[in-house]
């Protein structure tokens, strides 16, 4: 099994908080172009895995390889530059700025201090922002302060902010949490559209939604992989049933 085949290969990843192993010797491989959904009960370590990949939390041991790069040694912004984008569970956007500015800030240009100082809002930027805005259903809201958006719109905006970064690996933490049914449908549609040509990791509680989008599913339990495979296979795995229904 050569690593070349994978966009992301996580091997032997462990992190402990004062002795508590939130993620324990975890290995995970994501294919090029794959949509992987991670599910698992509360406290299984799902969000922590994303935190480890994007550098928000430092691992205790193990390796995370993205293409040829070892992510465990890199800082957050370097990981972003390498092509990994992350969406948080609670919408994390800049409430003080307009929608346009939110997207513009995420545009991958002028990322150094002086780059930002001499950044020019040229036509390419404007076009790109409008294009993304349309994709995330916010084309009419560009001048609005982002703080005034609805919860669902904020989720979309954050997705849009990721898209404009053009990441190769997209990590989404519960993208449809707190959305209305209609918004949820729109989001599923959006996700299908944007995942083309990208690898995506999604954390999801909603089984139906997971089934709708997943290529493969990984079930985490107590910081370890409990089961992996197609949704159908996973759903019929007795270990999984035990964890979800057992006690």
């Amino acid at each position: 099994m050569s690593q070349k085949d994978f966009v992301l290969s996580v091997e032997g990843l462990t992190v402990s908080f004062d002795g508590f192993k939130a993620v324990n010797d975890l290995s995970l491989y994501v294919d090029e172009g794959e949509i992987r959904v991670i599910i698992g009960p509360n406290g299984a370590g799902k969000t922590t895995v994303l935190d480890l990949i994007c550098g928000r939390t430092a691992s205790t041991s193990g390796s995370i390889k993205f293409r040829d790069k070892e992510l465990t040694k890199m800082s957050e912004h370097q990981i972003v530059h390498a092509g990994v984008g992350r969406k948080f569970q609670n919408p994390s956007i800049y409430e003080d700025l307009s929608v346009f500015e939110n997207l513009e800030l995420s545009y991958p240009k002028g990322r150094s201090v002086f780059g930002a100082l001499f950044f020019r809002r040229d036509q390419a930027v404007i076009n790109q922002v409008h294009e993304i805005a349309e994709m995330i259903f916010l084309q009419d809201m560009l001048d609005k302060p982002a703080g005034l958006l609805s919860h669902g719109q904020k989720q979309w905006l954050e997705i849009g902010m990721l898209l404009i970064q053009e990441p190769d690996l997209l990590m989404l933490d519960e993208p449809v949490a707190g959305m209305s049914v209609a918004e949820r449908r729109k989001t599923a549609e959006l996700l299908k559209r944007i995942t083309k040509g990208r690898s995506v990791i999604v954390i999801e509680h909603d089984m139906q939604f997971a089934e709708e989008i997943a290529d493969r599913v990984t079930v985490l339990h107590q910081g370890q992989v409990l089961s992996e495979g197609s949704m159908e296979r996973v759903q019929n795995d007795p270990k999984v049933i035990e964890v979800y229904l057992g006690h």
Partner: protein
Amino acid sequence: MFSDYTANELTAIFAMQGFAGLILFSVLVLMALGLAIIFGQMGVINMAHGEFMILGAYITYLTSNVFAEYLPGLFDGYFFVAMILAFITTFLLGMLVEWGLIRFLYKRPLDTLLATWGLSLILQQIYRSVFGAREVGVSLPDWMMGSYALTDIIEVPINGIFVMLLTVTIAIGVYWLMYRSGWGRQVRAVVQNRPMASAVGINTEKVDRVTFGLGCGIAGIAGSAFTMIGSTGPTSGQLYIVDTFLVVVFGGAQSLLGTIASAFTISQAQSTMEFFLSGSMAKVLTLLFVVGILMLRPQGLFAMKIRH
């Protein structure tokens, strides 16, 4: 520098120097405990902490005058009454301040710094108007002054022992309150998750008010005790504020144990260096040492590891 002295003298000096370090340690803990509660548990940056201490000192001054005037026979014991009064007064003032000022600022911790700085200016001026611009001399009962001779050379200041005992008592008291009492559980619950605490029926407003009051009250006791070793004037409180904050931050703001460990480290570093260097350089090096460590370990000595 030691060649001039006999082994005996050196032992004695080291013993006394160690003791001086312990006294400094007690003083720092006493200063910092109140702030550790207010800053560490509530996140409020109380720049008027020193002024609360001085209020305690002024209460002690007033009590000593009252005793000297009306109860001269009981003068030997006035200090205990004074400490209790100092606690009550600063506790009440603390609750008043929380009610009138702090409670509006919980979500803006840096703004508490500005507002309490304003408060400290006002308190200073009140002290000046009431007690005069000059420092007041607090007379102490005779038994508290002087020293206890352990050997020919080793002498232990009685007020130092008093401060140490007081510190131990208060530290144990605070520990018990925060970690063993039902009230302490409420405080910690509020600190960790305010909405949840509120949902399970804790009166968070009351907890805040009492916690702030308690922090101020301990400052008041500290101020009262410091009349034994320091000055009491309208602006004396400002002398303490930087040291106090450094002790708390260095310890890791949310840990009372950290505050104690940090006071110990700082006091030992300072008193050791004071012995070999001049006082000013010792102070500079101590501060540099603390700042340096904080840069390496910004969370302080004892910080909880938090899972995201």
